[in-house]
């Protein structure tokens, strides 16, 4: 029994090793991506480029404009477009906000009259637009009360736990590693059986005394190994080069990775069992890779999604694994808090394996 599986595993590994392109793709490409993409995630809203049309040009108007700058949000400057062609600047993205101060600004204020200021916002990016308007409102209120953000006596002292410098890298690099492992394991396993079928070697395997479960095990063990090697590579480089903290237990992370790989490999096997050509398998693998990535809470929080869509994310092993990776690496979480995620991944894995085992054994006969 074990000898047969071992022989199959060896065969798969030899096939991978023989293909230098495959080796490069499996081990070099993920690492290169990790470096290239590490600093891309950053959804802080800052640098709102602001065109200023100051028709008053008084000390007061300049003071008002200055009150926009000290925050981390607005970058003010005068526009190269006249107010009449102001929209050109919005269209070619020179700025996202335009502030217009009328000629009677200081005059009105000195006579205790209300004065209107125009604030035009590019609503294309709704999130930045909402934040820009919120901040402009606050800045204006503070200007009115003669209070600048720095002179208010009550301050907010912020403390970030686990990721104190708010380094997005700490968050991105483990996310990229986990996403790539998901993609690669799904892609590899989804091809596994379909490829043998397409080249015609599946019949050869069938006439040998191999059982379905041995075949499946022989196909997934090599990819589980590859998954582990990739994770180790990614983690070591992440810790050495990006100085990502690792607070929790390494053994726990490796143990739980097994449950995660079990789930993604099962998904790959399932795809393999429902596709009849490599191309179809690849399309499905693509679909599920993108699904895992976008529905995991890696790029946008799951809490933002509509409720029905949130239910769908429960079908995503990566969702649980990201919580586990972040939990263990940054917070030092233990099984006592992570058990719901582990159970969910395990259920997913068992279910998907049973499904694909049923489908494969039927098709083999």
């Amino acid at each position: 029994m074990f000898a047969t599986i071992f022989a199959l595993v060896k065969k798969e590994l030899i096939q991978v090793r023989r293909d230098s392109n495959m080796v490069r793709m499996l081990f070099v490409m993920p690492i290169v991506q990790m470096f290239l993409l590490a600093y891309a995630v950053n959804s802080d809203v800052k640098l709102i480029y602001t065109a200023v049309y100051d028709f008053d040009k008084s000390d007061l108007s300049r003071e008002y404009i200055r009150s926009f700058s000290p925050g981390e949000y607005f970058v003010t400057g005068s526009s190269k477009y006249s107010l009449l062609e102001c929209e050109e600047g919005f269209k070619n993205n020179s700025y996202n906000v335009a502030l217009t101060i009328p000629q009677d600004f200081s005059n009105n204020l000195e006579n205790s009259q209300p004065t209107e200021v125009g604030f035009m916002v590019d609503g294309t990016n709704s999130n930045s637009a909402a934040i820009a308007m919120g901040y402009a409102g606050v800045i204006t209120q503070q200007f009115n009360s003669g209070l600048s953000a720095n002179s208010a006596p009550i301050k907010l002292a912020e403390k970030r736990l686990y990721n104190p410098e708010a380094e997005s890298v700490y968050f991105t690099v483990p996310g990229i590693i986990a996403t790539l492992i998901t993609m690669i394991t799904i892609m590899q396993t989804s091809m596994a059986i379909v490829k043998e079928r397409e080249i015609g070697t599946l019949e050869q395997l069938m006439v040998t005394p191999i059982t379905t479960s041995q075949l499946i095990l022989g196909k997934i063990i090599p990819f589980a190994l590859i998954g582990y090697i990739e994770m180790t590579l990614g983690l070591v480089l992440g810790i050495l080069i990006f100085k990502i903290p690792f607070v929790g237990s390494v053994a726990l992370l490796y143990g739980l990775t097994f449950v995660f790989l079990f789930a993604t490999l099962g998904l790959g096997m399932f795809i393999s069992s429902i596709s009849s050509t490599q191309q179809q398998a690849m399309f499905f693998a693509w679909f599920f890779s993108v699904f895992s990535m976008l529905m995991s809470g890696f790029f946008t929080p799951i809490a933002n999604m509509p409720q029905t869509i949130q239910y769908l994310t429960y079908l995503n092993p990566l969702r649980y694994f990201l919580t586990i990776v972040r939990g263990i690496m940054m917070k030092g979480a233990t099984l006592s808090t992570l058990y719901p995620e582990v159970i969910a991944m395990a259920i997913f894995g068992v279910a998907i394996f049973t499904l694909s085992w049923l489908r494969t054994s039927k098709r083999v006969k």
Partner: protein, 368 residues
């Protein structure tokens, strides 16, 4: 010309024969648009906040109310225990804890120094950033309401006006980007297999001994996929307009034109991959690994390019989707025309020509 046509027809037959793949190619992008059109947004809400109020005055209750009524924060499932309030963060039961020490009411009455504390779970960088900027905003509003009573009729009144996306619909921003991302991925994936498949099945030699030039082979192979991918593009665009109500204020002709150029870029990239590897499996893995993460992360689809470090910003210039996203957002949402989009157009066209030439060159090299 005729030869190109025959190769194109042959390739078309290949596509049509595998009807299951064809259905997948047409249905999957639509499903993806539907799913991610709803799922991907940055309307941060429901940040789980636990408030520990030691002041327990009317002022502190006012502040608490402002946090929970802001629409950004919701009460955490579990209240923190007083000994170690930050424990709720480990379990993920709350994303942030706000501490109101005793003395807030006096500080407001006497205009004296006081510090509020907020502890944010930084392990989810997106949520942490949102929590901290909304908390600052709510506090600033709270303070100005406390300290500027009675002055409101005279001061500056801010008249805000929103251009283009007046209702601030998140989907109007993300769905056009999603179209660009999906088209890039599917086109590269489709094209990457074509030449690799001929190599794997051994029909490449047959093609090469026939009197067609490499350029004719590549063109003949690209054309059917341009048609297929355009069909995909049109379908998801239609879907975006109907389901998500994304406005279309610019010229549809211009969008079609850029769409074709963009598809050619993506397909050329796929063909280039196809010439680099020997098997279908490698070709598909290569194209997925090279397009999925980079396109989503570096195109400006979710993360704004201007917020990235400068080196990363240079890197994004190599991502075709970056330009097409600017173009499609510009045309659909702002009604931009060539006058505003010419820089993006030039870059996109340059990338297309570069990739296509490279693909043809590589292919010729292989033959020679």
């Amino acid at each position: 010309m005729n030869k190109i046509k025959f190769i194109a027809i042959k390739e078309f037959r290949h596509i049509m024969r595998d009807s299951r793949s064809l259905i997948i190619v047409i249905l999957m992008p639509i499903m993806m648009t539907f799913l991610y059109g709803y799922a991907i947004n940055l309307d941060v809400k429901n940040i789980k906040l636990a408030i520990v109020d030691f002041d327990n005055s009317s002022e502190s209750r006012d502040l608490t109310g402002r946090f929970y009524n802001s629409g950004y924060f919701v009460k955490s499932e579990k209240l923190p225990d007083m000994e170690s309030p930050e424990k709720v963060l480990v379990a993920g039961k709350a994303n942030a804890v706000l501490f109101i020490k005793p003395g807030l009411a006096e500080a407001i009455a006497n205009f004296s120094d006081y510090e509020l504390g907020i502890t944010v779970d930084g392990s989810d960088a997106n949520l942490a950033a949102a929590a901290s900027s909304y908390a600052k905003m709510i506090l600033a509003e709270f303070l100005s309401s406390k300290f500027s009573s009675g002055q409101t009729e005279s001061g500056v009144i801010l008249r805000s006006k929103i251009l283009y996306n007046e209702d601030l619909q998140s989907s109007h921003f993300f769905v056009p980007g999603l179209i660009a991302v999906i088209l890039m991925m599917i086109s590269a994936l489709l094209a990457s297999v074509t030449i690799a498949r001929e190599k794997e099945t051994g029909t490449m030699e047959q093609l090469l001994t026939s009197p067609v030039t490499p350029r004719q082979i590549i063109l003949g192979k690209v054309i059917p996929y341009v048609i297929l991918a355009s069909l995909d593009g049109l379908l998801i665009l239609l879907f975006a307009l109907i389901i998500f109500g994304v406005p279309f204020s610019g010229s549809s002709l211009l969008l079609m034109m850029f769409g074709l150029i963009y598809l050619t870029t993506a397909l050329s990239f796929g063909i280039l991959i196809s010439t680099l590897v020997k098997t279908q499996q490698l070709a598909m893995m290569f194209s997925l690994l090279a397009t999925v993460l980079p396109t989503v992360m570096l195109s400006g689809y979710i993360f704004e390019i201007k917020n990235m470090p400068v080196v990363m910003q240079w890197l994004t210039q190599l991502i075709p989707a970056r330009y097409f996203i600017m173009i499609i957002r510009g045309i659909m949402l702002k009604g931009s025309g060539l006058a505003e989009l010419w820089t993006e157009s030039i870059f996109l066209i340059a990338l297309t020509i570069g990739l296509l030439t490279l693909a043809v060159k590589r292919f010729q090299l292989k033959i020679g």
